[in-house]
Amino acid sequence: MNRNPQLNKHGELQHLLTTEGLPVSILLHILDTAESFAGVTEREVKKIPLLRGKSVFNLFFESSTRTRTTFEIAAKRLSADVINLNIAVSAQSKGETLLDTVNNLSAMHADMFVVRHSQSGAAHMMASHVRPDIHVINAGDGRHAHPTQALLDMFTIRRYKKDFHNLRVAIVGDILHSRVARSQIHALTTLGVPEVRVIAPKTLLPSRVERLGVHIYHDITQGMKDIDVIIMLRLQNERMLGASLPSTEEYFKYYGLTQEKLTLAKQDAIVMHPGPMNRGVEIDSAVADGKQSVILPQVTFGIAVRMAVMSILAGN
């Protein structure tokens, strides 16, 4: 079966599992719709009745503050009922399988699942298993994908740089363990960014990453040249199995974004980070809090983008 599991038979978005293989029209529709939702935040009543009477279940099998909270705010702004499941103390820890959990929650009349799981492919499995009227949003699965993060990053880039077609974007750091980087690369190339660079030591790059259409740099001072957008990635201590790095101090020395390294990029380059940041490991505080940083606007835009994704899915 070749059909994209995210799309229904009319080619509309049924689930959001990954940015890989999504047509540019759907990506732009999400970004455009998010623009309209961004205005809602400035109103007296910050609610829209679109998802009234719908139940959104936040299923986080892996810890998260920012993503879970912004999904919750987004769903509440759309007037949905939001149920947060604390998986650590729930049935799964008593031995229930993922699909049994999903079946039970479906029996409680869930309309949408927002799921984060440490296993790559967990959201895909749920999507292929749920009733056809239920929508699944992947909020991060293992090393595979984190599509809403990538979409809010695209929204941020478009807000500051207006157009994707003349940009050079650098993704710096732990690409190997990063589902965010994978989703960003697919979204950036689909949206027409002509040059995407990955900057990392060999030990933190997936093998054959160049097949995704990116340029590889091991030296950040070379990689920063003519860059418009810098995306820093968190060094994922919890996913490091072996000794990929001598020490975090040495990593900072070679790959940590300092003001000095930042001056090698274009003067109006923006600095992004999906969070949570490790100050002094991948990014210096002076840069994280500096004039070129758009790290906090990213968080704010995340609400509008997640509202857009939920309202498009629930309407299809």
Binding site: D32, S36, G39, I48, P49, L50, S311, G315
Partner: protein, 169 residues
């Protein structure tokens, strides 16, 4: 069927509104046709409060049936809604559902002192208790016809009628 001249209807509507519009009156057009009409009225009547535009996609009652409109645009209400006197403008008044959605959205910005409705055409067929205070013309049209306002590149407005059973060319 001979359709009325949209420019003439607009001129009539402008004259109806002239006695009631003063510097306290705010005007809001509903995207897309209503916004065109509102822009022309706003200009002709020399309103001082900047023009507002509403996209009611997020408030439509047929969302659960037809999903989200593919081209949602941001609503822009560049004045304080609380306590304001509003003339809401749309091109065609039909079932009244669009107006219901627009009024709901306006109230999410604040509590206006009053809202009056001005439409270029009232084509009957109401499904909700909604009426326009100012209308260019009242027409009776069969339910299988869709009346559309169009704007050409010079900004000139015109009306067209099409069969809803056949998609637009």
């Amino acid at each position: 069927m001979q359709l009325p001249d949209a420019e003439k209807l607009l001129a009539d509507l402008t004259e109806q509104l002239r006695p009631v519009v003063d510097e306290r009156i705010a005007m809001i057009g509903i995207h897309t046709g209503g916004a065109w009409v509102a822009k022309r009225l706003h200009q002709a009547l020399g309103c001082s409060i900047p023009l507002g535009v509403l996209d009611i996609s997020f408030y439509r009652d047929d969302y659960s049936k037809i999903g989200l409109h593919p081209q949602v645009r941001p609503s822009d209400l560049p004045f304080e809604i609380e306590g304001s006197h509003i003339i809401l403008v749309d091109d065609v008044l039909y079932t009244g559902r669009t107006i219901r959605a627009a009024v709901n959205e306006i109230f999410d910005y604040g509590r206006p002192a009053s809202i009056h409705l001005a439409t270029l055409i009232d084509r009957g067929g109401r499904e909700l208790p909604i009426a326009a205070q100012y209308t260019g013309v009242v027409l009776s049209l069969p339910a299988d016809k869709m009346l559309e306002l169009k704007q050409d590149t010079d900004g000139k407005l015109s009306l067209s009628l099409r069969d809803i059973r056949f998609p637009e060319k």
